[in-house]
């Protein structure tokens, strides 16, 4: 949305808060595209899709499970890159930190969805909610690690303290995850089932999976964009102290009138 136009000053002060304070025209179209994609995914997944020969109705869960897993991994990669961007002195800026934080938060959300849908899919296709194969175990550790990362972000201190601390933590996670992955692989070498049955999906099913990945990606970008802006506003409020910010805000409204 665009900024509140002068015409809005005729309304009461309560409504002078913009309805979509973190939105722009770009993010709006992005959101609409994501919504259309998600709607198609739900309609196709629940109504149109045929059952798979082997996975039966489990294949319907895959339309959500695979894109969310993919996006969760992408989100954590983005967090890692943004953390490095912050720590690298020449590009040091709090915007990296906010992107890292927003991306980790969205990643944790998608990872939770991945784990839940994966368990339910496993119950249908394998007959069990969980197996200790390396992929599943590493995913669970990623989830816990980033839950911890988000907790560290809330510890307080100045913005740059938070940024530095969490950036270091995110890079340590990059160290941790391969080690967890390989140790679990050595630990249980027998459970090497592949999670996705390949080559058994017809064209429309593959197309829908593709639609799922695209619309989850759009959704991810939309969420991170907005979350990152909310973080920026929260930082601004912190900087000025609440009272100062409120005073400035009131003064601004006086001028608008």
């Amino acid at each position: 949305m665009t900024s509140p136009a002068p015409s809005s000053s005729t309304e009461t002060t309560a409504t002078s808060v913009p309805r979509r304070p973190t939105g722009t025209t770009f993010s709006r179209w992005l959101g609409i595209a994501a919504l259309v994609g998600m709607t198609w995914l739900v309609v196709f997944g629940l109504l149109l899709s045929p059952d798979d020969d082997l996975q039966k109705k489990g294949v319907r869960i895959l339309y959500i499970h695979v894109p969310s897993a993919w996006l969760a991994y992408l989100a954590f990669v983005v967090t890692g890159i943004a953390s490095a961007g912050y720590l690298f002195k020449r590009t040091r800026s709090l915007i990296w930190d906010r992107i890292a934080g927003a991306s980790a938060e969205v990643g944790v959300l998608f990872m939770a969805i991945t784990l839940v849908t994966g368990s339910l899919w496993g119950r249908i296709s394998w007959g069990t909610y969980w197996t200790w194969d390396s992929r599943l175990t590493t995913t669970a550790f990623l989830f816990i690690t980033y839950v911890g990362y988000l907790a560290v972000r809330d510890l307080g201190g100045s913005h740059h303290q938070r940024a530095k601390r969490s950036a270091v933590l995110a890079l340590l996670a990059v160290l941790e995850i391969p080690l967890v992955h390989f140790s679990v692989r050595w630990w249980r070498p027998l459970h090497q089932q592949e999670s996705v049955a390949e080559g058994k999906l017809d064209d429309l099913m593959l197309f829908s999976l593709f639609v799922g990945i695209v619309s989850f990606t759009l959704l991810y970008v939309w969420l991170v964009l907005h979350r990152q802006r909310v973080l920026a506003m929260a930082d601004a409020v912190d900087d000025k102290g609440l009272d100062g910010a409120l005073a400035a805000r009131r003064a601004e409204q006086e001028v608008a009138r």
Partner: protein, 44 residues
Amino acid sequence: MNQWPYVLISYALSLGGIATYTWRMLRRARSMASKVTEEDRPWT
């Protein structure tokens, strides 16, 4: 085994989770926006 409950639960939890997160974030955005000035929202 009736598989529909598993499918429906996974759709409900996924979409419900995303919707809840989005809703809470936008609500927070609005409450934050009432405390900051225009120049703290350079994207608008």
